[in-house]
C-alpha cells in the first residue's frame, strides 16, 4: 500500500505542475494572480504599508486638506486632509471582507439546493426550488440588494446580507445544471444499485464532479460581489463613513468634481483594479480547470 500512496502523491504533484503550466502560459492569468495577491497583501498589511494608517477613520488635518497628488500624498488628500492612498489600502479590507463573507454565506445553501433539485429533477422538489430561484432572478440583482439593504439599518453587515440573499440562486442554477446531467452517469447508477445512501450519492459522487465549475465561479464572483458591494456603498447603504469603503469614498469625492478630481477618481480606479484582478484570475482558473459551464 505504501508504494500506491507514493505513486498517488507523485501523480498529484505531476498534476499540479501541469495545471500550473497551463495556468501560467496565459500572461493575463498571471497578471490577475499578481493583482489579487497585491490587493490581498495591501489589505492584510494595511496598518504597516499604508503611509498614514491613522487616516483610515475619523481624522482631521485641515492644514493638508484637498492636496492634489504629490510626493507626500501620492493620490492626494480629501477635504479633511486624509491621505487617499492609505484609505484605499484600508478600503481593500472592506471589499475583500464583503467578497469572502458573501460567498461563504451563499455557496453552501446554493450548492446544496442545486444538488437536491438536480438529483430530483422532474419532481416537485425540483419545481419548488427552481421556481423560487426564478422569482429571485426576476428583479435586477442590484435593485433587490438595494431594497433589502434599505429596509435594514445601513451598514456593512446588512449590505453583505442583502447581497447574499440575491446571490444564492446563481449557484443553485449552476449546480442544478451540472447535477441534472451527472445523475444519469453510470457511476451514479452503480452507486444507486449497490444501495448507497442519497447523502452519499449527492455529496460523495455528484458534488466532487461539480467542484471545478463552483470554484471557478467563486473566483469570478469575488469581483462581482465586490462591485455590487461598492455600488451599495456608493449609494450610502454599505460601508458607513468615516470608514473608508471604496464606494463610499467615490460617492464622497463626487461632490468635489471637477476641481478635486483625485478624491473620487483614485478610489474608483481601485475598484476597477480589484474587479479586474479577480476576473483575470477567474478566467485563468476556468481555462486551467476546463470549467466551460461557468
Amino acid at each position: 500500500m505504501v508504494s500506491a500512496k507514493v505513486l498517488g502523491s507523485a501523480q498529484r504533484s505531476e498534476n499540479l505542475r501541469r495545471s500550473w503550466y497551463k495556468f501560467s502560459r496565459n500572461r493575463l492569468s498571471l497578471i490577475g494572480l499578481f493583482t489579487v495577491s497585491l490587493v490581498v497583501f495591501l489589505a492584510v498589511f494595511a496598518p504597516v504599508v499604508a503611509p498614514y494608517p491613522q487616516h483610515a477613520s475619523a481624522f482631521v488635518d485641515f492644514e493638508n486638506a484637498s492636496r492634489p497628488p504629490c510626493r507626500t500624498y501620492p493620490f492626494g488628500t480629501d477635504v479633511v486632509g486624509r491621505d487617499i492612498m492609505s484609505r484605499i489600502f484600508f478600503g481593500f479590507r472592506f471589499s475583500l471582507m464583503m467578497g469572502v463573507v458573501v460567498l461563504s454565506l451563499v455557496v453552501p445553501p446554493g450548492v446544496i439546493l442545486g444538488l437536491v433539485a438536480g438529483y430530483y429533477q422532474g419532481t416537485w422538489v425540483d419545481t419548488v426550488i427552481m421556481r423560487t430561484t426564478d422569482i429571485f432572478l426576476a428583479v435586477p440583482p442590484l435593485v433587490l440588494a438595494l431594497a433589502i439593504a434599505s429596509v435594514l439599518t445601513p451598514n456593512l453587515f446588512n449590505a453583505m446580507l442583502a447581497v447574499s440573499l440575491m446571490w444564492w440562486p446563481w449557484y443553485c442554477r449552476l449546480v442544478y445544471g451540472l447535477a441534472s446531467t451527472l445523475r444519469h452517469e453510470f457511476f451514479v447508477a452503480s452507486a444507486e444499485t449497490i444501495g448507497a445512501s442519497r447523502f452519499h450519492i449527492l455529496f460523495r459522487e455528484i458534488l466532487p464532479n461539480c467542484i471545478s465549475p463552483i470554484f471557478t465561479k467563486m473566483s469570478l464572483d469575488m469581483g462581482w460581489v465586490i462591485l455590487i458591494g461598492s455600488s451599495l456603498s456608493f449609494v450610502g447603504l454599505g460601508v458607513q463613513p468615516p470608514r473608508p469603503g471604496l464606494g463610499t469614498m467615490v460617492a464622497d469625492g463626487s461632490k468635489y468634481l471637477p476641481d478635486q478630481w483625485w478624491i473620487a477618481v483614485f478610489p474608483a480606479l481601485a475598484i476597477v483594479l480589484v474587479v479586474l484582478g479577480f476576473n483575470l484570475l477567474g478566467d485563468g482558473l476556468r481555462d486551467m480547470l476546463g470549467a466551460e459551464e461557468v
Partner: protein
C-alpha cells in the same frame, strides 16, 4: 410543441414568477422594524390617529390577510401614498417611469448594436490588432462599474471639456414637447420639434453610454466567441471554397446563428441596466424612476419601494419574453418544436 404553446407556457410561467415576486416584495416590506402607520403620520401625531390608520391599512389583521389586501390594491394600481412626495405612488410612477424607460431603451440600443458590431468585427479580424483592441477594451468595460464610467464621463466630457450637459433631460431654454408617450425624443419627433429632439438626445448620450458600456462589452465578447467558433465550421469552409464573397457569408450565413447566445444574454443585460440606472440617474440628476426609487429607499418609503420593484420586475419579465421570441425566431430548432431545455 408549436410556437404558440411555447409562448403560452412562457406567459403562464411569468404570471407565477410575478406572483412570487409580489410575495417577496411584501416580505421585504414587512421585515422593516417599526410601525408603518406611525412612519406615515410622523412621530408627533397622537396615538388615536395611528390606531385609526392601522385599522385602515389592515395592519391589525394576520399577515396573509394583509398580503391579500396589498395584492388586490397593487393589481388595481393602488400602491398607497408616498411618504416622500405625499402623492399617490401610482402618480409618481407615471411621472418618473418614462424617463427611465427612455434612458434604458437608449442604453439597450447602444448595448445591442455596439456589442454585435464590435464582436463581429473582432471575430472577423481575429488575432489582428482590431481584435486585440476590442478584446482589451471590452474586458475593461465588463469589469468597470457603470457608476465609475458615469463619474469619469461627467468629469471628462461634462466638466473638463464642457462638451455635454451634466444633468437633466432637457436644457432649460427648451420647452417640453406635448406629453404623448413621455419619452422626450419620441414626443418631440411626433410634435415635429427637432430642436427639442436633438437637445433630448444630447442629454441622453452621457448617461446612456455610461449605462451601456458594461453590457456592450459583454455582448461583444459573447458575439466574438460564438462567431469565431462558427467561423471554423465546415459549412463556412464549404461556402468559402465555392467562392462566395466574405461579406455575403457574413450577412447570410454567419450572423444569424451567431447571434443566438448574444440575444439570449440581452435580457440579463437589460436587468443589469435597470439596476445600474439607480446609480447613473443619481449621478446625472436624471428625473427617472430609479432616482425616485433610490430616494424612497434612503428614506424607507415602503409604498414607493414596493411599487418600484414591482414595476421593474414587470419590465424585466416582459423583456425576457421579448428576448425569448427573438431567440425563437433566430433558432429554427425552437420553432420546429425541438425545444430548448431550460
Amino acid at each position: 410543441m408549436g410556437f404558440a404553446s411555447f409562448l403560452g407556457r412562457r406567459a403562464v410561467h411569468s404570471v407565477f414568477v410575478l406572483l412570487g415576486l409580489s410575495i417577496l416584495i411584501f416580505i421585504i416590506a414587512r421585515i422593516m422594524p417599526g410601525d408603518p402607520a406611525r412612519m406615515a403620520v410622523g412621530a408627533r401625531a397622537p396615538q388615536w390617529v395611528v390606531d385609526n390608520l392601522r385599522e385602515q391599512m389592515h395592519l391589525n389583521d394576520p399577515l396573509y390577510v394583509q398580503y391579500v389586501y396589498w395584492l388586490r390594491d397593487a393589481m388595481r394600481g393602488d400602491f398607497g401614498i408616498s411618504l416622500v412626495t405625499r402623492r399617490p405612488v401610482a402618480d409618481d410612477i407615471r411621472e418618473f417611469f418614462p424617463a427611465t424607460l427612455e434612458l434604458a431603451l437608449f442604453a439597450g440600443i447602444i448595448n445591442g448594436a455596439g456589442g454585435i458590431i464590435l464582436g463581429a468585427v473582432s471575430a472577423w479580424q481575429k488575432d489582428k490588432w482590431v481584435d486585440n483592441v476590442v478584446r482589451i477594451v471590452s474586458y475593461l468595460g465588463v469589469v468597470t462599474p457603470s457608476f465609475v464610467f458615469a463619474i469619469l464621463f461627467l468629469l471628462l466630457f461634462g466638466m473638463a471639456l464642457d462638451w455635454m450637459p451634466t444633468m437633466g433631460r432637457l436644457s432649460a431654454d427648451i420647452s417640453k414637447p406635448p406629453l404623448i408617450t413621455g419619452l422626450l425624443t419620441v414626443d418631440s419627433l411626433l410634435a415635429g420639434d427637432f430642436r427639442a429632439f436633438f437637445d433630448a438626445l444630447w442629454h441622453l448620450i452621457l448617461p446612456g453610454v455610461a449605462l451601456a458600456l458594461g453590457g456592450m462589452s459583454q455582448e461583444a465578447r459573447i458575439t466574438r466567441s460564438t462567431m469565431s467558433d462558427n467561423l471554423t465550421k465546415d459549412y463556412i469552409a464549404a461556402e468559402r471554397s465555392l467562392g462566395i464573397p466574405g461579406s455575403v457569408i457574413m450577412r447570410s450565413f454567419l450572423l444569424k446563428p451567431s447571434l443566438i447566445p448574444t440575444v439570449s444574454i440581452l435580457g440579463l443585460d437589460f436587468a443589469a441596466t435597470l439596476g445600474n440606472a439607480f446609480l447613473v440617474e443619481l449621478i446625472f440628476v436624471w428625473p427617472g424612476l430609479s432616482r425616485y426609487g433610490i430616494n424612497a429607499m434612503l428614506r424607507k418609503d415602503l409604498n414607493a419601494i414596493s411599487a418600484v420593484i414591482l414595476v421593474l420586475g414587470v419590465v424585466f419579465i416582459i423583456t425576457n419574453i421579448a428576448v425569448d421570441i427573438v431567440v425563437a425566431r433566430l433558432d429554427p430548432r425552437i420553432q420546429l418544436g425541438a425545444g430548448r431545455s431550460e
